[in-house]
Point group: C2
């Protein structure tokens, strides 16, 4: 059994109001080609297929195209689970009518984890798809007391452990935040207040765990408990990351052979520092001047229409910072810090600055409930 593990496609996402659909098409085409040239049996997509619960129509059309190439044209099985960005019911529509074709979409979590047992050209594997679910959902469906994401995951994994895979390797597919995982700015926190962290050791006895959520490729705890990372850089904080998909092949002892297959973006996402004149002069010899750029200008004087001037040679400057003009570098530090903070923390900061008092326990709970309700109403739109 040989398969590609990928995740966090976020089809339909924008970067600073710039549609990335063509960039996504470019890189998804590479994944189809990699699946073909590596003769894989399956492609596993570990959640955040779309960027929003209601994706734009052209995002739906792109996914339809990619799935059709893999499943109908190449005869490769596709398994995908809903992540925290996906609309679970929408994504899962008519999934029971697709399975015969080799397309397995797992939208909402159900009260019974249905293993997907696939036979590859050389050996098979049992896949256990665990779509993203709030602890409250797991409590309700599995009649347990789980209040954290870790407790919820423990409840779900019981079914995986109990299932007899007839000697086939067990592959868990999940969308969660492993403790110690390295974050990027483009991920949306799974919960407020830090109750979202799961110990990587939970997965150590499974033969492979294909995870989604964190956008940088990485493993935690053991090499076979992995994030494939997103297919594109979805924030400037990811400029140093190398995006890839993970190729997994089980040997005769059910040990996974793991390698990374790099993806090449149509336009890179990077940060450029310098004085305006230097940058304008450098453009001529910059073969990648179409890249998506954040420009940090070091000039200390006022410049008329700096953005217009930059865009005349770098058409995809998405964000401009006048670092040279800033009174102190601390300001910049504070700003970047804020972006990384969750809603609760930002509000708590704001509150204490305005009122001079920290949030009380009761006030904090109120905010947690409000933010949760907002996220939920977003999902139910």
């Amino acid at each position: 059994m040989k398969f590609i593990h990928t995740s966090d496609w976020h089809i339909g996402r924008q970067l600073h109001n710039q549609s990335l659909l063509e960039d996504q098409r470019h890189v998804l085409t590479q994944i189809v080609e990699l699946a073909k040239s590596n003769e894989v049996d399956a492609v596993v997509i570990a959640g955040d297929i779309y960027d929003r619960s209601v994706p734009p129509a052209n995002a739906v059309a792109l996914l339809d195209e990619v799935v059709n190439q893999l499943v109908n044209e190449l005869g490769i099985k596709v398994i995908m689970i809903a992540g925290n960005h996906d609309g679970h019911e929408r994504l899962g529509f008519a999934s029971r009518q697709m399975q015969q074709s080799g397309l397995y979409i797992i939208g909402p979590l159900t009260s019974h984890i249905e293993p997907i047992v696939l036979q590859g050209k050389q050996g098979g594997a049992a896949f256990y798809p665990l779509p993203y679910a709030e602890p409250a959902t797991v409590r309700h469906l599995y009649d347990c007391a789980a209040s954290t994401h870790e407790e919820a995951m423990i409840a779900l994994l019981e079914a995986v452990t109990a299932h007899d895979s007839q000697g086939l390797p067990k592959v868990v597919i999940g969308h969660c935040f492993l403790d110690g995982g390295s974050e990027s700015e483009s991920e949306r926190p799974l919960s407020i207040g830090g109750a979202d962290k799961i110990s990587p050791s939970l997965f150590k006895d499974f033969d492979y765990t294909a995870l989604g959520h964190l956008h940088g490729p990485q493993y935690k705890g053991q090499e076979h408990t992995r994030y494939s990372g997103s297919i594109l850089k979805y924030s400037f904080s990811e400029q140093k990351q190398k995006k890839s998909v993970t190729l997994v092949e089980f040997d005769a002892d059910n040990k996974p052979q793991i390698s990374l297959l790099p993806l090449t973006a149509m336009r890179d996402v990077r940060i450029v520092d310098g004085a305006l004149d230097e940058l304008l002069a450098a453009a001529e010899n910059d073969a990648n001047r179409d890249d998506y750029l954040m420009v940090r200008l070091s000039d200390k004087h006022a410049i008329l229409d700096a953005m217009g001037k930059l865009r005349s040679v770098y058409p995809n400057v998405l964000h401009l910072e006048r670092t040279g003009l800033m009174a102190s570098n601390e300001q910049l530090g504070i700003r970047a810090d804020h972006i990384k903070k969750g809603e609760l923390e930002m509000f708590a900061d704001f509150f204490s600055q305005v009122s001079g008092e920290p949030l009380t326990q009761a006030q904090q709970q109120m905010m947690v409930d409000t933010i949760d309700a907002l996220h939920k109403s977003e999902d139910n739109q």
Copy 2:
């Protein structure tokens, strides 16, 4: 070949801000039971599956459930086309991966009409699904000069006529407005300015035409060119209609035997006239006081909280008219008239009342373009 023809489910629709999801579930359950008890080979749904291009998640879950009962549990084929209310890309996602299961969803129109040839328990039939499409879309895909809905339909039907069905009866599935068809207030006009009408004679040579769009069951031109009508009354203008699905069975000569299978709503939609005291007194013996009601009060004096009083005994009063209080009945007439008019006509009336001049040709065209653009942006959300 025996099949049920239905259309205009409009799942997710509201009636005066009241969700109809439970009413829809009730009547869809009946359709599943009718399909089973009549041992049909297929269920054909001629468009307007959902009420909006982005249906709410619980509407998607309901359709998923119904489709699963028909296709997976009963082994009945389901063919559905997108209507003018549906989001074509969204509805059509992964449809190529569903066909093996017996579920045929035709979302966006394609440049080639793919016949669906089904074998029933007694004989087969060829179905030609024509999802709703603007003339501009047909012009583009079929490289023709169609500017009206009729010209567009002629272009599409050429492919149906040309196809060799090997002696099987030909069933066209469409979503359009036949000239002379009887309208209800709950339909959204297909185009502005009357270019949406299609002659029923276009369909006379096909063995059956299963249409959607008009909400009252009816045939036009010939008995086998039919609207099944919607599954529920979606406006008070439909209070006298009897909702049903159409049962079609071809005999040995490919002649369709047609009968109507009535549907029973969980709550009827009706208009009640009378004085407040009479109506309150009558409630006690009204077994159907849960119905969705429009109440027209004949009382000529002011009444404090008439709605509250009515709802204490008729919980689902959705609309109240104080006909007794109105200065003249003409006002009421004008109002009902307005509701029936399209956006363009309403704006033209408003404009001439305010400015004293009718719209010029150029102004009218501007409004047509604006209204069209608004409808399109709604679809592309």
